[in-house]
């Protein structure tokens, strides 16, 4: 991609060309009431598959270009996010205030999203199926079934690749061109996190290196796993030595067997509160998010986090623009604006998950160098070296993404794994 390109192949066009989705025939009606879905009627529920309109890749790209050419900045933006996922100071969010000051766009920020499936099932799907806007211009969804559904149903507005200069300049390799959204057609990462194993070596007596170490009878009743249909199956796939992203239904069967075997040792399949259980000793080892373990280390310094040697999982919360959004251009402006290193640093300082802008590390190092007292210097140095925000390259190699399951195989996948944590 770095050789000299023929003149008609502009970089953004090339980016678009590499996305497999563009080769499918898609027709996107943007901006008006979509023909997708007519709402729940007593006699049937309309499907929501994007209706192929026979347009080839180029025609689709022209549609997108035409759409964005018609958009005007309106001076306001509605942003829906997860709670505690943006910087807070006093009664406001400094990064949002700065954004308003620099661009003149006011932001209404609502922490409406508590869970992907619930948000999708209560806010996104019912409204969009009825052809109504969901409200916010930017929503933040984790890569997974819900995000894939949004793609399949053409419920997201493709991003304006010409307005992503900060993104393409500063986004880390992690954020650019992820497997679940090649070419960043629809999404730009907000933050990412790692799913690995949190454990207490003092209680266990030795270190935990990988998922198979959890199959230890001595740990029986002291192991925790996640109760969802992504982390649990993918951990099992890693445990049997398979890369989740390239796994086959045969692999899934073997992974389900592994998970069933593990079940006798598991104390509970957790929705949330595993970190507290680990900190107070109810659990000795558990599937965990790196950020949570870091937090609990303040309470219990014995806790450790490891990316399993068979493989850990990396997930990303992504910003995207739902269709029928009222202020798409303002949304684009914001989404690209947060990719400036100094803004990314502002956010990372508070949020403490993996930032999509690796240059934020230099910002922290500079802050540390410029610090006037020891406390500030130590603080920024800690941030710059935090493995939570800037993962080790060695860990990177062992991290996998969730696979994108084809629509006709989703039921098989769920049927295999749900009975394990929902018995």
């Amino acid at each position: 991609m770095s050789e000299s390109l023929p003149p008609e192949l502009t970089p953004d066009l090339l980016r678009g060309l590499t996305s497999p989705r563009l080769n499918r025939r898609r027709f996107l009606q943007l901006g008006g009431l979509s023909a997708l879905g007519v709402g729940l009627s007593a006699c049937s529920i309309a499907g929501s598959k994007g209706s192929g309109g026979g347009l080839g890749g180029q025609a689709w790209r022209d549609e997108i270009a035409k759409f964005w050419a018609n958009q005007k900045k309106q001076g306001h933006l509605d942003f829906a996010n997860w709670p505690l996922y943006i910087d807070v100071k006093g009664n406001s969010h400094p990064s949002l205030d700065l954004f308003t000051k620099e661009t003149g766009i006011s932001v209404t920020y609502k922490e409406d999203i508590s869970d992907n499936a619930t948000y999708y099932g209560t806010k996104i799907a019912p409204a969009l199926k009825a052809g109504q806007p969901i409200g916010p211009d930017i929503i933040v969804i984790t890569n997974g079934f819900e995000l894939t559904n949004l793609f399949l149903r053409d419920w997201l507005i493709p991003l304006d690749q010409n307005r992503m200069s900060n993104f393409y300049q500063y986004a880390s390799d992690l954020a650019k061109d992820p497997a679940y959204d090649r070419g960043n057609v629809y999404t730009m990462p907000w933050q990412s996190g790692i799913t690995g194993i949190g454990y207490n070596p003092k209680l266990i007596g030795h270190e935990i290196k990988g998922w198979n170490d959890l199959l230890d009878p001595k740990l029986s009743g002291k192991v925790g796993m996640f109760a969802n249909n992504l982390d649990l199956p993918c951990a099992a796939l890693c445990a049997i030595g398979v890369n989740p992203e390239t796994s086959t239904p045969d692999d899934w069967n073997k992974a389900a067997d592994w998970a069933k075997k593990q079940r006798t040792y598991v104390r509970k399949y957790y929705d949330q509160s595993y970190a507290g259980a680990l900190a107070r000793g109810d659990l000795w080892a558990t599937m965990a998010w790196s950020g949570d373990i870091f937090l609990k280390q303040a309470e219990n310094p014995d806790l450790k986090f490891v990316v399993p040697e068979e493989g850990g999982l990396i997930w990303t919360d992504n910003m995207c623009i739902p269709i029928h959004a009222s202020h798409p251009l303002d949304a684009m402006t914001y989404m690209d604006w947060v990719y400036q290193p100094k803004i990314a640093a502002m956010l990372a300082d508070y949020i403490n998950y993996i930032t999509p802008v690796s240059a934020a590390q230099q910002v922290f190092q500079k802050e540390a160098a410029d610090a006037t007292n020891d406390k500030d210097r130590a603080y920024y140095t800690n941030l710059a070296n935090s493995p939570l925000i800037f993962p080790e390259p060695a860990d990177f190699a062992r991290l996998h993404r969730y696979p994108v399951i084809p629509a006709d195989q989703v039921d098989a996948w769920n049927g295999l794994f749900e009975p394990i944590y929902q018995a």
């Binding site: 019912p126 009825a130 595993y274």
Partner: protein, 281 residues
Amino acid sequence: MTASVEAAPRSARQPRRRRVGRGWLLPIWGWLVILWLSSPIIVMIVYGFNDGRPGKGVSQHWNGFTVTWYENLFVYSDLTEAIKNSVTIALATTAIAVVLGTLMGVALGRFRFRGSGSVNLLLFANIAAPEVVLGAALLSLFLAVNIPRGYGTILIAHVMFSIAYVVVTVRARMGGLDPALEEAARDLGAGPIVTFFRVTLPIIFPGVLAGALLAFALSIDDYIVTSFNNGTTQTFPLWVYGAAQRQGGSVPPQVNVMGTLIFSFGVLVAVIGAVASRKRA
């Protein structure tokens, strides 16, 4: 024996209550239960004073006493708004559900009429319906008729699942209502409305109060039905659950503080009520 059969005014007669023995068992049980019900609240109150890392969930380890969270109470504007919404919606729900439910309870308890069986079935079915289905079905109704989701739809939903609880508790009280009392009132020239407010309502008041308390509790604590029908209006259970999700199960200390304040306010109301009733007697 003949002496006690004579009609002496009850207030003048000294009841032969045995204060020892059985007398103390009941109150102890009662207070124990109240204490047990309140125990997580006590934990919550204590941890509202627990020092810890600002903005990132409650530490379960005791880090030292602090009142920082009380000073920084309104840091999370979403949280403050959520509480406001929850309380006002609960009050409005209680008001509406009590009115509608009491009327229904009185009708079902007082009259025998055609269709009362199907109304009973309707109420039972409403109590029995799982929340996910209730919420989803109601949302599809709102979407079909194009009602924007927000404060109003939350209110509609909450009243919808509270009415039946009020009816049941009012109904349980109606059995003791002697129709002769109402007839007597009517014979004395009182119209039906006056009869209702002066005769019926005071008698069934415990049932109405119980129903009101239930409706308030149901409304202020509802998650699933609200999550379907709230649009972008935030409520307290929704916010707390969402905050806990991303923090591995812990909530910001301000949540404990808010809870403490709500609880204290409630205790204050109860104490004032107790003092006022003492004055009334």
